[in-house]
């Protein structure tokens, strides 16, 4: 039976974490109950200390069919990495 309520994506940040990580989704009628449901469903075992909920319809995702044109061009361009460069001895402390 599908819910009449919209779906929300849930992101949780761990106590020692810096980022909110995607944990799953809930159905809820509004943002406040989405937060409460997310807390009940995803933080029972001390998984985190901060929750974000975003309406699933607000999440804009890159198109998997366009993966090649979006991400392949970055391959093989080593000059974009700092490790590609050799520093002269005089500034090697950098």
């Amino acid at each position: 039976m599908s819910s009449k309520w919209p779906m929300w994506e849930v992101f949780v940040r761990a106590r020692r974490g810096v980022d909110h990580v995607h944990f799953g989704s809930v159905h809820a009628s509004d943002s406040e109950t989405a937060l409460q449901s997310a807390r009940d469903l995803f933080t029972r075992r001390q998984e985190g200390v901060s929750i974000w909920v975003v309406r699933s319809s607000d999440v804009v995702a890159s198109d998997p069919a366009k993966e090649a044109e979006l991400f392949d061009p970055a391959v093989g361009k080593d000059y974009r990495f700092p490790t590609h460069y050799e520093l002269p001895a005089e500034v090697d402390y950098m």
Partner: protein
């Protein structure tokens, strides 16, 4: 040191609140697989588990106060209905979702004030439990309050059902803050000053207003639960709760 009159009064107080928690937990357990959405099944089960945790601590402490080597299982499974001292509100059957949420909201609005005042108890066991129980109850209250507001200020049907629930349960709310027989405990600092009724009203009235619900007037309040005089609903609840322990007394362990 606690004198014997205070000790038995404190034991009765601890059992009143252990029973309040356990009976309500049992009712919430019965909601699982009956909620409108799976998220609510989980929410009510979580609240039930928090209440069971509070009941366990309180019953264990009751065993200590009583001094007869009784453990928590004794108080939960081996007392009969007239020994249970929970208020009448928590033994009511679940009804529809609006009824369950209104009952929960009325309960949580009392429990938050109770645990808040108990954080200052001179009894260190109860004060320590109160710190955790207050946090748990804050979340329970946030949950039940948000449902009462959404159901009251919702569709025509949800508003009608929620108003009916308020009208039906109102007569059971006066009992909550009315333990007039605990003045000795108040004097000794075990429990706080009795302003829980005012705090309950201060929590409930704005929420009902926000929910566009009418507050019933001229309602006679039922009493008796705290003294062990119960409605017809408690006996079947206890029969089910206690059935496994009593059927397999010799070997049931958990």
């Amino acid at each position: 040191m606690v004198n014997t009159a205070d000790a038995s009064m404190l034991l009765r107080h601890v059992l009143r609140h252990g029973d309040r928690a356990l009976v309500l937990a049992q009712r919430l357990g019965q909601c699982v697989t009956h909620s409108p959405e799976i998220e609510q099944d989980v929410a009510l089960a979580n609240i039930s588990l928090d209440l069971i945790g509070q009941a366990r601590h309180l019953y264990t402490y009751a065993g200590v106060l009583e001094g007869l080597q009784h453990d928590e299982d004794h108080f939960a499974y081996w007392r009969d209905g007239d020994e249970f001292l929970n208020p009448l509100l928590v033994e009511q059957p679940n009804g529809d979702f609006a009824y369950t949420m209104v009952r929960q909201f009325f309960h949580d609005s009392y429990a938050i004030a109770y645990w808040d005042s108990m954080r200052a108890s001179t009894d260190s066991t109860l004060a320590a439990l109160a710190v955790r129980a207050h946090k748990e109850t804050s979340f329970h209250l946030r949950h039940s309050r948000s449902w009462v507001v959404r159901l009251g200020d919702g569709t025509t049907e949800s508003h009608h059902r929620t108003q009916e629930a308020v009208d039906e349960l109102w007569s059971l709310t006066g009992e909550l803050a009315s333990n007039d027989d605990e003045s000795e405990l108040r004097r000794a600092g075990f429990i706080g000053e009795n302003e829980l009724g005012e705090r309950w009203t201060a929590t409930v009235a704005p929420a009902l207003n926000e929910a566009t619900l009418q507050v019933p007037t001229n309602v006679a309040m039922a009493v008796g639960g705290w003294e062990g005089r119960h409605s017809e609903h408690l006996a079947p609840l206890l029969a089910e709760l206690q059935s496994v322990a009593r059927a397999h007394q010799a070997w049931a362990k958990w």
